[in-house]
Amino acid sequence: MSSPEYYIKSYCLIRDGKVSKNGEILFSDDSEEFPAFIKSAYKHFETDYSKFFKMDNLSKLAFMGAEVLLCENEEQNTALVLSNRASSLDTDRKHQAAISKESGAFASPAVFVYTLPNICMGEISIRHKLYSENSFFIFAEFNPYLLSDYANDLLISGKANEVLCGWVDYDKGKYDAFLYVIAKKGMLPHNTGELTKLYRTK
C-alpha cells in the first residue's frame, strides 16, 4: 500500500530533570525526586488544573508531556497512542501495599483507579477535550515500528487527523517520556529511523 506522507509536527522529552520541546530545553530543575520535579514543571508552565494533584506519577508525566505539545494545538481529532514498559506498576504496588496491611486492609479508590496504564490518556482526553481513539501498549523498550504503523493506519483510515504518540514510563522513581505529534505537515519525516534518533537524544 502506498502511504501518504506524514510528518513529526513536534516532539517533547521529559527525563533527567528536563522538559524539552523540539530539541529546545524549556524547563530544568535539579529536584532529585520526580514528585518535586513534576510539581515545579507544573508551576513553571503556569498550568492551572487542580486535578493534576490527584493524578498518579504516570499520569502526571504523560499529562505534562501532552501539555507541552497540545497547548496550542487546535486539532480536535487527535488520537492518543502511548506505550511503556512498566504499565501502571508504580501505582499497582501502592494498591498492593494498602491491601496487604496486617493492621487492616483498606483499598483506596483514588489509588485503585490509577492501576490501569490507559488512565493517563483519559486525563489527557479530559484536559484537551479529545473524543478520540486511545490505545495503550506495553513493550520491553520503545517500539517505533508498532507506533508508526498504528499511527499511519489511524490517519489513512480517517479515524484521526493527528496522532499524539510516544513512550511514557514511570518505575521505581525513574521517569522517561518521549511524546510526539504526527500530522500531515511538520518539521521531520515520520519514519522509524527519525523516531529512534529523537528518542535517543540526550
Binding site: S50, K54, A110
Partner: protein
Amino acid sequence: MSELKQELKEKIIEQLNLEDVSVDEIANDDPLFGEGLGLDSIDALELIVMLDKDYGIRLADPKEGRKIFESIDTMAAYIAANRTN
C-alpha cells in the same frame, strides 16, 4: 466538635490531595461537592473509606454518603453520632 471539624478539614485536604486549599479556606457549611470544594465521585468513595478506616463507620448504602458529605458540619455531626472508634 470543633476539634473534629478541624481534623476532618486536615484529612480531606491531605487524603484528597487538595493542593491549593488550606484549612482556613473551608467554612464549616461550605458544600463539599459541586460548587464548593469541587469534589467528585472518586472523592466521595474515598470519604466512605475514610469513615470506615478512621471512625469505624460502615455505610450500609453508599447513597447515604450524599447527605452525610454535604458539608463539614453534616459530616462531623454524623461521625460524632455514629463513631465506633
